[in-house]
């Protein structure tokens, strides 16, 4: 008996209702009521998600799938509103609803003094709705609905302060860049449909499983499809080359950055790759590409993160690099490790962002770390939470990322195609990670205070912001312990739990326990190294030096944006202005419209004269019409008669 599973649609529907209510009627309501609606809907859906998971476990972890109604039926193509719930979905579901709920609570504090309060929560609930659709969907089409929906909400929320040009520009950038990725994703879907004549996960993957895996370096249908889907993933999850929108997305309110651009939406790409793992395991080339891209992104973004001065930018680039880790994990076949890192990352990155938000809140909107410092006394709670997050992401045991990142690197090390290189790069990225995170901590919380008390009155955030922080801090501490037993020869309960989903796909894992211990030791050392370097450089009095040479390049993010501007945007703009506008629009479309108008007028002017007002003339016109009609009706009988042909 599964009372809730049978009505799984309730879980995504609740946030939608909340969004509709607060969006349509919230304008005039006081914040309290809007809080009630938003938190109520999110909290309820969190509770329902828990209940659903309970029933799932009671039901013996049987993968659940139900078709609620037909959405599109065209020929032999069917896309229904079908939801499914298996172990992977359970993880995503809990992460999304849980973290989302916490961030909602946090937002009530953070946004308390902003305009458009109801708008913000309406968007946020809408995002929850689409995200839940995305993770619950049982076919590619419905997943794509969620996919596009979260993109939309991300656009809306990045541009939340739409009066600020930078914000609206960032929104547009995010949207357009995602378009490119989504285009790849759609092409992938089309290819899959053309190959398997359906887009249901179960059917497609069953058929794929029966196929013969393609060889390395072979670009068969499966590889191409996998790569196209991965293009979409790069767009959504900010991987090279489409990562450029994420740093700009920091224009949005910090809770948004935490929820969408750290915890949930950006991980959608990872989710898709993990969801279609069978496809990837049958296309080694695609997996190799995924691994390389992930690894490169992890390194690349980390390097940029080294020198950023904006606290949120640092976190943004760290997000990009962490996502790179996840893709690296998936690429080397350690899907469970990737998902594991996704979960832990959701905890600590949300924690970091929220803490950063708390800092910014305390500094009254200041985001430049060079204007902070010495805050550890002023805002203790935030400081400790931030510290927890930092340690977690840096990968010190027994914090979460230690286990997840360790698992990924371990799998990478054992990867067949020069996995050692991947491992090395990943390790170096890990060192940089711990460096820039501790740099952030030192710049922000230690050293002398670089802001003057007169303008800024530093104060701790209210309860409804700090409580979620603490919860997340605890989570980022204990979040990884499910995998802990693996260290002393026990088994990785998380991988165990996910094994029904990934099962055979799990190629990683072989390799002795001793090697694993060694590698984790190396990882801890690397983290410590990063910590030491950061301590050497920033614990003493530091002031912002002139940025020169390589530092300058890094600070300007390798000039990637300028490159894209020159290579992609420029030509497009030129084409649009000089061809599409000046020739097509003006020359063809407008011309056609105006031509029709003038033609009508001319005809009217000539025909008008038949309207003599004399009834008998009108009668004759009636006759003409009648004659035509009769001629048409009788033609088959008459034409011999008219031409004098006698039967």
């Amino acid at each position: 008996m599964q009372p809730l599973l049978d009505h799984l649609w309730i879980i995504p529907l609740l946030p939608l209702l909340g969004s509709a209510v607060s969006g349509l009627f919230g304008k005039t309501w006081p914040n309290k009521i809007v809080n009630g609606v938003a938190l109520g809907s999110t909290g309820l859906s969190f509770a329902f998600a828990l209940e659903a998971v309970r029933e799932f476990f009671v039901g013996g972890q049987q993968p659940f799938r139900k078709e609620f109604f037909d959405w599109i039926i065209a020929g032999n193509f069917r896309a229904g509103f079908d939801l499914q719930l298996d172990q992977l979905t359970v993880v995503m579901l809990l992460v999304v609803t849980g973290v989302g709920f916490l961030i909602h609570i946090y937002s009530t504090g953070y946004m308390a003094h902003e305009g458009g309060y109801y708008r913000f929560f309406s968007y946020l609930n809408l995002f929850m709705f689409f995200m839940l659709i995305l993770v619950l969907a049982a076919n590619f089409v419905l997943l794509f609905v969620g996919w596009e929906g979260v993109g939309l909400c991300s656009y809306l929320l990045i541009g939340f302060y739409f009066l600020r040009k930078s914000a609206s520009d960032a929104g547009k950038k995010a949207f357009i860049v995602n378009r490119i990725g989504d285009f790849g994703f759609m092409l992938g879907m089309f290819l899959l449909f053309r190959t398997f004549h359906t887009l249901d996960f179960s059917v497609v993957f069953k058929q794929v499983a029966e196929l013969q895996p393609e060889a390395m370096g072979q670009f068969g249908t499966l590889t191409v499809a996998a790569l196209l889907l991965f293009v979409g993933a790069t767009g959504k999850s900010a991987q090279i080359p489409l990562y450029v929108w994420l740093p700009d997305a920091m224009e949005g309110p910090t809770p948004v950055s935490a929820l969408i651009h750290a915890a949930t939406m950006v991980t959608a790409g990872v989710y898709v790759v993990a969801r279609s793992h069978i496809l990837y395991t049958h296309a080694p080339t695609a997996m190799y590409v995924v691994a390389i891209v992930g690894c490169a992104t992890a390194f690349f973004a980390a390097t940029i993160g080294l020198v950023q001065s904006d606290i949120k930018k640092v976190l943004a680039y760290s997000t990009v690099s962490q996502l790179g880790y996840m893709f690296l994990g998936c690429g080397v076949g350690a899907f469970s490790a990737g998902i594991f890192h996704l979960m832990t990352h959701a905890f600590f990155k949300a924690l970091l962002f929220l803490s950063a938000g708390s800092v910014i809140h305390a500094m009254g909107g200041e985001q430049d770390m060079w204007h902070m410092g010495g805050l550890s006394k002023k805002i203790k709670v935030t400081f400790w939470c931030m510290l927890f997050g930092t340690i977690a992401i840096a990968g010190f045991p027994p914090f979460a990322a230690f286990f997840s990142k360790d698992a990924i690197l371990f799998s990478a090390y054992n990867y067949d195609y020069n996995g050692k290189v991947l491992y090395g790069v990943g390790l170096f990225a890990a060192i940089m990670t711990s460096f820039y995170m501790f740099r952030l901590v030192w710049l922000t919380f230690f050293g002398e205070q670089r802001c003057d008390e007169h303008h800024v009155h530093v104060h701790e955030s209210p309860k409804n912001m700090t409580v979620p922080l603490m919860i997340l801090a605890v989570l980022s501490l204990v979040g990884g312990w499910v995998a802990a037993p693996a260290l002393w020869g026990g088994k990785d309960y998380f991988a165990e739990f996910l094994s029904p989903v990934f099962g055979a796909a799990e190629t990683a894992g072989e390799g002795s326990a001793s090697l694993e211990h060694a590698l984790s030791l190396v990882a801890v050392v690397a983290a410590a190294a990063g910590l030491l370097v950061a301590w050497r450089m920033y614990s003493a009095k530091v002031k912002r030096g002139p940025s020169t040479g390589f530092h300058k390049i890094l600070y300007n993010k390798y000039y990637v944006d300028e490159l894209y501007q020159a290579v992609v945007v420029g030509p497009l703009t030129w084409l649009s202005r000089n061809v599409l506008w000046k020739i097509v629009d003006v020359g063809v479309i407008d011309a056609a419209v105006n031509g029709i108008a003038t033609g009508t007028t001319a005809v009217g002017d000539t025909v008008r004269h038949t309207q003599s007002g004399n009834t008998r003339s009108y009668a004759v016109w009636v006759l003409v019409g009648a004659l035509v009609v009769i001629a048409i009706i009788f033609w088959p009988i008459l034409h011999p008669a008219l031409f004098g042909v006698v039967r």
């Binding site: 309207q611 004399n614 009834t615 004759v620």
Partner: protein, 100 residues
């Protein structure tokens, strides 16, 4: 016996004469009569067909046509009376406000 298409041709001829009257006459009442003439021609065709196919439906239809003609006469003549009152003439060519 009389072949059916004799009746049909007669009805066609009457119909044609009705049309001629319709365009040729100027007196609005006479034009209205022309319409009645056409209706009668059609009725003749109906009856002829129904008798030829031995189906009474055609005659039922004739009854309907007659009823409609009666209603039409009532309203139409009312309109004619009104027009004659306002325009002081029954000549349709003098009633030419129907233009721009």
């Amino acid at each position: 016996m009389v072949p059916t298409n004799y009746y049909l041709i007669l009805s066609a001829v009457l119909f044609g004469l009705g049309i001629v009257a319709f365009v040729f006459k100027r007196n609005i009442i006479t034009i209205f009569m022309a319409i009645e003439l056409m209706l009668n021609a059609v009725n003749l065709a109906f009856v002829a067909f129904s008798q030829s196919w031995q189906k009474p439906d055609g005659e039922v239809f004739v009854l309907f046509v007659i009823v409609v003609a009666a209603a039409e006469a009532a309203v139409g003549l009312g309109i004619i009376i009104l027009t004659a009152r306002n325009r002081r003439s029954l000549n349709v060519e003098r009633v030419d406000l129907l233009k721009l």
